[in-house]
């Protein structure tokens, strides 16, 4: 039986790519070709410009660089304890024992499962199993991570945490490819969306390009993301002018506001505090929270979330944190973002870009030193 025909795509390094399509569109088939588990009957697969070879040695090399996380975690986690499962890849790559331990420790810390080493998989929740599966791939240090339906069977909070983790990985320079039929997730998360149906590629492009064509989406047995749907209805009532659909709630509210008032609010905007949890301890964060009239707190990344839990901070936002904080700032509320590593600068940059594009002024306070807040007024 033919699962795919006439599929020809090239995927760029360091991007977040979502394969979107209904059941039986050929997403999984395509993904299984990425690391040589399936071999196309005609045509070829290239990685770094080189055609894949299917001899055992080349396949090993490929599978180390292209890690695959299966849809069903029980298919993937076959070792009887978490440690053994995560160590499986490194051990088979022939790493010495000390290196295996280090890699496993690093991978488990990354997915936030330190201390779970001796647990058997049947004592884990669905979200924890997915994390173990991802850790098992991370321990092999792949360049590309392919995830088949990473959020199916997970509750909303677990899904968001997994997607947040994938964002973090992408920031660390990895290429992430997921398949999904969750249009909301694909639209919000992906840099690039590839729409598949019946073993063919219908369209590829940014989320706005792909989901800007309702006919095509209908044909693929999907539905429009709610933001796009609302936007289209507002356009058809003449409340907004037709251009590119907004990417998220923030852009949609901005569009509506600027149409209504002619401009985006110039009232007092709230401050956004950004705390680097590698440098600021829980006590400082708690004292900031008490002192600075912060109404909302959000955390990005596993470290920050773990710290928030330790410090007993109730998080208002655990996903889409930056956008949410900008939204709150525009309505005059102060907020705090807890995050770490490269995501600190990324948050600052994201807020700056937003300010430049919209003309709003949002004060960003970066808390990184232990002595106290490093106030940087009128940072744009």
């Amino acid at each position: 039986m033919e699962a795919m025909r006439g599929v020809s795509i090239s995927l760029e390094e360091g991007r977040k790519i979502a394969l979107v399509g209904p059941n039986g569109a050929g997403k999984s088939t395509l993904m299984l070709m990425f690391n040589g588990i399936l071999r196309p009957t005609s045509g070829e697969v290239l990685f770094h410009g080189q055609s894949l070879r299917y001899d055992p040695a080349s396949l090993r090399e490929l599978r180390r660089k292209v890690g695959m996380v299966f849809q069903n975690s029980d298919d993937q986690i076959f070792a009887p304890t978490v440690y053994q499962d995560v160590a499986f890849g490194p051990v088979n790559l022939g790493f010495p024992e000390e290196k295996v331990k280090r890699y496993v420790g690093y991978a488990l810390a990354y997915v936030g499962l330190c201390g779970y080493e001796r647990r058997p998989p049947h004592h884990l929740s669905g979200g924890e199993k997915k994390r173990v599966a991802i850790a098992g791939i991370l321990a092999m240090e792949p360049e590309v991570i392919v995830l088949d339906e990473p959020t199916s069977n997970l509750d909303p909070a677990s899904s968001e945490e997994i997607m947040d983790m994938l964002d973090e990985l992408k920031c660390g320079g990895k290429t992430i490819i997921i398949s999904t039929h969750d249009v909301e997730l694909a639209y919000r998360w992906a840099d690039e969306v590839i729409l598949m149906e019946g073993g063919r590629i219908l369209k590829r492009g940014t989320g706005q390009e792909v989901f800007g064509d309702p006919g095509l989406i209908n044909k693929a047995r999907l539905k429009l993301p709610i933001v796009v749907d609302i936007y289209r209805e507002l356009v058809s009532r003449g409340l907004l002018s037709d251009s590119n659909p907004p990417r998220n709630v923030l852009e949609l509210t901005d569009l509506v506001e600027s149409r209504n008032r002619g401009t985006i609010s110039r009232g007092t905007t709230g401050k956004i505090h950004i705390a680097d949890v590698d440098k600021v301890g829980p006590d400082e964060i708690n004292s900031i929270l008490e002192g600075a009239h912060i109404s909302y707190a959000g955390a990005m990344g596993t470290n920050a979330k773990a710290l928030a839990e330790r410090a007993g901070i109730i998080l208002d936002f655990t996903y889409g944190v930056i956008d949410k904080c900008i939204l709150k700032s525009l309505s005059g509320k102060d907020s705090l973002i807890m995050t770490s590593g490269g995501m600190v600068d990324r948050s600052v940059k994201r807020i700056q870009t937003y300010c430049e594009e919209s003309g709003a002024k949002i004060e960003v306070v970066k808390l990184s030193s232990l002595e106290g807040p490093d106030v940087n007024p009128d940072r744009r």
């Binding site: 690391n35 588990i37 396949l59 090993r60 599978r63 180390r64 890690g67 695959m68 299966f70 029980d74 298919d75 993937q76 986690i77 076959f78 070792a79 009887p80 304890t81 440690y83 053994q84 160590a87 499986f88 890849g89 051990v91 088979n92 790559l93 022939g94 295996v100 080493e117 001796r118 647990r119 058997p120 998989p121 049947h122 004592h123 098992g136 791939i137 092999m140």
Partner: protein, 260 residues
């Protein structure tokens, strides 16, 4: 959803003691049970092992008792048969059933008693091992004792998938009961046959997926084992050896005592 032996094992209070020591205690007691000529030592082992399992390892007493009922019922049945079969000694009990004489004599009764005591003591020792030592630790001890890798690896994979298939069997069973698959004996048998068949096919498919999953992660014939559990403390070693010596002494001192 399920009440598994394994769940209790992972939450017992002795989980952080040396697996080798626990195995030594359990296996040692078991061997002594089998070698004992009288029921006294095995009964002593049964009582002390139960006390250790419930008192020190903190396994819930209720659960432990229901667990013991299973082997005990078997032991009672079979020793009943043994008691009637063995002649010799004075007659203790007799009855006439449809013209056949059934009688219990001294030797048979003694043997039956010994059988129950041994089973009981042995089961208590076995439950001590299985309720305090996670399978993984037993595997790593086996490996360090020189069992071939492929046997240990295979057992580990089997152990892992037992739980996947328990879940599957449970789900299939629920699906059958939901559609009245348990109405009447004929239906029940039929459902059971179907469940077994489907489970076999699922196991086969899971096996194929397992190979794909292992290949996708560069399988090269190696599975790691967890490190060995905690090292034994001198005090614990002393206690275990002391216990075994005491039990062996009981065996020796009571070897000529006849209960009946």
């Amino acid at each position: 959803m399920h009440d598994l032996l394994d769940d209790y094992t992972h939450s017992n209070a002795l989980i952080n003691t040396s697996p080798r020591l626990k195995l030594l205690l359990g296996l040692g007691a078991m061997l002594i049970c089998i070698s004992s000529a009288t029921p006294i030592a095995p009964l002593f082992i049964a009582i002390t092992m139960s006390l250790i399992t419930v008192g020190i390892a903190k396994i819930p007493g209720r659960f432990y008792c229901t667990l013991l009922l299973i082997p005990l019922s078997f032991a009672l049945l079979s020793s009943g048969v043994v008691a009637f079969m063995h002649g010799g000694g004075s007659q203790l009990f007799a009855m006439n059933l449809f013209g056949f004489m059934f009688e219990i004599r001294d030797d048979g009764a003694n043997l039956a008693l010994l059988l129950i005591a041994r089973t009981f003591g042995g089961m208590c020792s076995l439950f001590f091992i299985s309720l305090t030592t996670p399978m993984m630790e037993i595997f790593s001890v086996l490996k360090s004792l020189g069992l071939p890798d492929f046997l240990v690896d295979l057992s580990m994979l089997m152990y892992r998938y037992i739980f996947v298939f328990i879940d599957q069997a449970h789900l299939i069973h629920n699906a059958q009961v939901m559609r009245l698959g348990d109405a009447g004996i004929k239906n029940t048998l039929n459902s059971h046959a179907m469940l077994s068949g489907v489970l076999f096919l699922r196991a086969w498919e899971q096996g194929e997926r397992l190979i794909v999953a292992m290949d996708a992660r560069c399988y090269d014939g190696k599975l790691v084992l967890m490190e060995q559990g905690a090292k034994a403390k001198p005090r614990a070693i002393f206690a275990v050896v002391g216990y075994l010596v005491v039990v062996e002494a009981i065996v020796f001192l009571t070897k000529d005592i006849q209960l009946l």
